[in-house]
Amino acid sequence: MSATYPTGVAPENACALHYAPGVVDDIMVVGVGGQGVIVAAAVIADVALLNGGLEVKLSETRGMSQRGGSVSSHIRIGKQVVAPSISPGEVDYLLAFEAAEGLRAAPALTPDGVAIVNTQQIVPPLASQGEHAYPFDAAARMKAAGHDVVVVDGNAVALEVGDLKVAGIVLVGALSTHLPFAVETWQQAIARNVPKAWYELNLTAFAAGREVGAR
């Protein structure tokens, strides 16, 4: 279920209102092995747990995710959640760390779902064999298919705040504007999942992400 909570306007009781009985937010994070999809999923799961009163279930790509293959992570948040993975066509928020992976996962979106798509393009070695072409127009194709797409240049924003490594948290920041959790709770969730030395930079990246995510 979609709802928008732009920077600073999330009410105190936003969560209680939002997660009525039967309401589950289905969030899917996709990317390429090594991009930080797992950390982003952990932050999203932790923000719901830190908020309190919610059930969280999570499932991740099976198999050899560390070998440059497609990876995806499902996070489901609600008062009560049954299955740990999201059914096709029911993703409320798609967070794509890589553009072609966003396009691959787009059919999983519900009709009023939101896709936040990083502009980064990682061309797989297969593309050089000529049998398959890499979709350089991934975000445009998602829009043409009728999806609500927010394009974020996560790498550029990350470089601007100081380091390419925080691009994932920029994207999490963009997603955060759509979920009913307080900024302070997000900050606590980030603190739990990034090395101490990187915490401040991640907070800056998160704030920058919220700005681009709020459109």
Partner: protein, 630 residues
């Protein structure tokens, strides 16, 4: 009490620790690996990566005989390897509680088959508990140790990949404070302490542990008696709700009433367990459920009573009609595999579609939705940049050999872009398969067995010994990257350290081969392409068993290896594409063209400087970054 978001496998480990497990032994295998990885982090547990699943099972069994609570964990294929002691141990029974965690892989995310492991319970009469989420994993594992000692039998905790690899909330400890809010974290065991669990006196009972006919005949009759008592236990605990749970339908009308597509409504009941239960509950919350916790033996009378309360009874289970056939044999009418697929992971959508096809009015599942855009370029996992398997893979392709693979990362060379491995079967298999292939006449350009260090030590040695004894002309390549890489970097006997971090003597694979009687044993630097070619040719020419062993470590485990990157001199690159045959993720097409072909560029961030691409580059356009044209 505290609540944590835990992986199913983490919850199994926690439950085992709280139950007092002292010895845990396993060989790594997705999706079971994390059970023992986690147990190794707990206070007071001896945990080891054994050389293979059979050895692991026997170590755990020996620990039980010795009076400790013990656990072993394995994937489906591992259970096949360990089947001999698995079946025998049910005859003998136990001393300390023995728990066998068996994690199946319906959908084959990384398994070679999707065999239905529940039949190991049937063939052996081992009682089986099947958890559905992390809470169950935690509770059932604790219970399994008690049951094992109570009924003098090993107890299986049967997991599906969905259960093993999902994360859900686990309430840990006793509910003294009326339930606590969930806190983030996986219940990190570091810092947790427990008193040493009491050790039972070790068993020295010949007639219990010696499977000679005069002992095993009465042991089988005793086992059948124990199964009777276990059946009674299954019925009683199903009745009290301890191990099976009747759930009324969630719909407004209750009583499992579900609307039919043709109009009207009927009372639907579902019998299910484990991951399939979770998917069925997601797909059809309005139905009445009988969730089973013990699936061997079955509480058939409780199932019969539940069946009598509904109009249509469905059995939802992954893979084979294991439950369905037993219900039908007991005279309980039910529907199952007619509607739900007998292959693959049973996700909510696949269960929902089955219910829809069965005539239930379910708008959520009316449309058959695609999960992903099949037109997007596939992105399979590939050999890492700098992977030591790449040099030999490329050389074997150059010589156009018939390549028989084993189980390891090198199996990725069955796929594009390398596409040069022609079989990948099971652990230790490549070595004997290649011998049989040669005995059948071999192939024109020659054939070779490829195996890794961990798999060679797992079950490859006996195959090689066979070649020596039979004087079979055969070539074996041991891709020794000094780690069990594919499952995430576990130690093996080739390492200087054990799982627990203790120093140990690394085994000398070349010395083993020589001791077996192999005359040609040659070590090769896999980063030297010409050396790879020369060694392969020498091995193929040798009249008898020959072994080549590569000498570079995994670039990912135990620590990521970095090196000086290479660059492409775009002026010299003639876009010949020789380097692209390597399938290196750090090589990609540049915008610049030579005639109709793209020139090549190297990602300097990820290149580890293995130099294979430079060795293949005919115009010499690939050079070390510092001395390059840039």
């Amino acid at each position: 009490m505290e609540t944590h978001l835990m992986l199913g496998n983490e919850a199994v480990a926690r439950g085992a620790w709280e139950a007092g497990v002292q010895v845990a032994a396993a060989y790594p295998g997705t999706p079971s690996t994390e059970i023992v990885t986690n147990l190794a982090r707990y206070d007071g547990v001896y945990a080891e990566w054994s050389t293979n699943e059979k050895v692991a099972y026997e170590v755990a069994f020996g620990a039980s005989m010795g009076g400790a609570r013990a656990l072993t964990a394995m994937k489906s294929a591992g259970a096949s390897v360990a089947a001999d002691p698995l079946i025998s141990s049910v005859y003998t029974g136990v001393n300390g509680g023995l728990v066998v965690c068996l994690a199946g892989d319906p959908g084959m995310a990384s398994g070679m088959t999707e065999q239905d492991d529940r039949y190991f319970g049937r063939i052996s009469s081992m009682p089986m508990l099947e958890p559905a989420d992390s809470q169950d994993c935690y509770e059932y594992t604790r219970l399994a140790f008690d049951l094992s000692e109570q009924f003098d039998v090993p107890v299986m905790v049967r997991l599906s990949i969905q259960t093993a690899h999902q994360k859900s909330l686990v309430r840990i400890g006793e509910d003294e404070d009326g339930g606590a809010e969930a806190v983030p974290g996986d219940g990190d065991p570091r810092g947790l302490r427990r008193p040493d669990p009491p050790r039972k006196p070790p068993h020295r009972i010949t007639e219990k542990y010696s499977l000679l006919p005069r002992f095993s005949r009465p042991l089988h009759r005793s086992l059948l008696e124990r199964v009777k008592r276990l059946t009674q236990y299954a019925e009683e605990t199903a009745l009290t709700g301890e191990l099976a749970r009747v759930e009324p339908g969630a719909g407004a009308a209750g009583a499992g009433l579900v609307a039919l597509r043709g109009g009207g409504a009927t009372r639907i009941g579902v019998v299910s367990a484990g991951a399939a239960y979770v998917s069925a509950k997601e797909a059809l919350p309005d139905a009445a459920f009988l969730k089973l916790g013990m699936i061997q033996p079955l509480p058939m009378e409780v199932i019969r009573r539940f069946a009598a309360t509904v109009d249509r009874l469905f059995v939802v289970e992954e893979l084979e009609p294991y439950l369905e056939e037993q219900l039908l044999a007991a005279g309980i009418a039910c529907e199952g595999k007619r509607w739900f697929p007998q292959w693959g992971e049973l996700t909510a959508v696949r269960v929902g579609r089955g219910f829809y096809e069965a005539g239930l009015d379910l708008p959520r599942w009316a449309e058959d939705k695609a999960a992903e855009d099949a037109t997007v370029i596939p992105r399979p996992p590939v050999l890492c940049t700098g992977c030591p398997h790449r040099g030999m893979a490329t050389a074997m392709k150059k010589l156009d050999l018939d390549v028989h693979g084993d189980i390891g990362c090198y199996d990725l060379t069955t796929l594009p872009p390398v596409s040069h491995m022609h079989s990948a079967f099971e652990m230790g298999a490549s070595v004997p398969i290649e011998q049989g292939f040669t005995r059948a006449g071999g192939s024109e350009k020659g054939s070779i067995a490829v195996i890794g260090d961990s798999t060679f030590l797992h079950s490859g040695i006996t195959g090689l010994l066979n070649a020596v004894h039979q004087r079979t002309k055969t070539l074996v390549l041991i891709q020794d990257n000094r780690i069990t890489a594919m499952t995430g970097g576990q130690t093996n006997p080739g390492n200087e350290r054990t799982l627990a971090g203790a120093e140990t003597k690394p085994v000398d694979i070349a010395a083993i081969c020589r001791a077996l009687g192999v005359e040609l044993v040659e070590q090769v630097d896999p980063y030297d392409y010409d050396a790879c070619l020369r060694a392969l040719k020498a091995g193929l020419a040798h009249d008898g068993p020959a072994v080549l062993i590569t000498t570079r470590p995994c670039m990912l485990f135990p620590a990521k290896i970095a090196g000086e990157p290479y660059v492409v001199d775009e002026d010299l690159c003639n876009a010949c594409q020789q380097c692209m045959k390597l399938g290196c993720p750090s090589l990609h097409h540049a915008d610049a063209m030579h005639k109709t072909r793209h020139k090549v560029a190297i990602d300097g961030e990820t290149c580890t400087g293995c130099s294979l691409c430079a060795q293949l580059c005919r115009p010499g356009a690939i050079v070390k970054a510092e001395g390059g044209a840039s």
